[in-house]
Symmetry: C2
Subunit: 226 residues, 2 copies
């Protein structure tokens, strides 16, 4: 299938990184050629989905939210299973944080590629970063490259996956957001694993975000407006 190389679909989680990617895509492809996609997978912090819709509206792009009810049936991780507490510790057996949903980014990108395939969208943009990847193996450059090849083979799709944050730190992500004019929109993003607003400030996600803003010497609009 010949994809339209002018259209891009951004995986928008409602967080800081994917919001930065949305503005990166708008800068590169133009606002009219960018759409955002989110997934309702039974996440504990459903406020993310409301934030994603607000971010897309703020940025002036269309937004679609697809359901994925499968992860809830798999069970066993802290982000979808309310019987599991979020903590900073790694699972002794797997060596991964207990917020790891096995295969989550693989599934999201594959569904996004299927959505793009049927609409002749040539580019996917995803906010994964291996610099601060918190131990998630599906945020690594190698994984994304391998998935790109799998999608090319499995769908005969030429869709191109962009991961503009893959090699940069949280500090540099904040600076990039500033340079792309995305800082205002950061006020409506959501990061906290505990789903609270204002954010808890103590979970691994809040700590990582705070560190990035502090190192960039920029005030987090989410904190100053909460």
């Amino acid at each position: 299938m010949t994809a339209n190389h002018d259209k891009a679909l951004v995986l928008l989680s409602g967080g800081q990184d994917s919001t930065t990617c949305l503005y990166w895509a708008i800068d590169r492809f133009g606002r009219d050629c960018v759409a955002a996609i989110s997934f309702d997978y039974g996440q504990r912090h459903r406020i993310e989905l409301e934030c994603a819709a607000a971010i897309a509206a703020h940025a002036g792009v269309t937004h679609v939210c697809l359901p994925i009810d499968t992860f809830a049936s798999l069970g066993g991780d802290a982000l979808t299973d309310r019987d599991v507490d979020v903590c900073c510790d790694v699972d002794e057996q797997t060596g991964l944080p207990n917020t790891f949903v096995p295969g989550r980014n693989l599934i999201f990108l594959t569904f996004a590629a299927a959505y793009a395939y049927q609409r002749e969208i040539g580019h996917l943009v995803v906010g994964v970063s291996q610099t601060d990847y918190s131990g998630y193996p599906d945020c690594r450059s190698q994984t994304i490259e391998s998935l790109q090849e799998t999608i090319r083979l499995g769908m005969e799709s030429r869709v191109q996956i962009h991961a503009p944050l893959i090699h940069i730190s949280k500090k540099e992500t904040v600076e990039l957001a500033r340079d792309l004019g995305a800082l205002d929109t950061m006020a409506v993003t959501h990061t906290c694993y505990n789903g609270t607003r204002p954010p808890c400030g103590e979970c691994p996600a809040c700590l990582l975000r705070a560190k990035g803003f502090a190192e960039a010497g920029i005030e987090d609009p989410l904190i100053t407006t909460s």
Copy 2:
């Protein structure tokens, strides 16, 4: 994560190929180490799911069915969208049959790998065949190998994907089913794209199945018992 190399999970669609794979897995890993997984993705031919449960019961293995509501939201293919007719023609734009659900096998295998990951199952078995692959790019050996690598990287999983039918024809699949003692169970399988029982005998799936049995010189138990 160290997977138990004795346990296998078979992707059971309720059709002839995955049933043959189930018996292949039982032969290789032993009945007590084999489980079957199916996906309820809003398929038009939901009778497949009843058949899958019946096949697993017949074979004496446990069976789980996971929901995937996402494909129905993607729309546009003949297997999940009731506004699209099943036909033998290929789509002029994509060059693929209109029964192609983009990414279906990639999604199924990735969810199966996530399920296996959380239960320390070391092997996945899938009934794809590139010999008679009907133009589906996600049934090719290259695609499966690439996905295996993507799952290894993205989940830090050592799960091994087996595709015992990948290089054999429908005729040889029928012969393999006979050799594995799976023929009786073929009476409760389902193949017809139109979801009828007895099968329509005219859709591409029925024709391919009939050809395989004819070439093997074996009567199809599904036809003789319908």
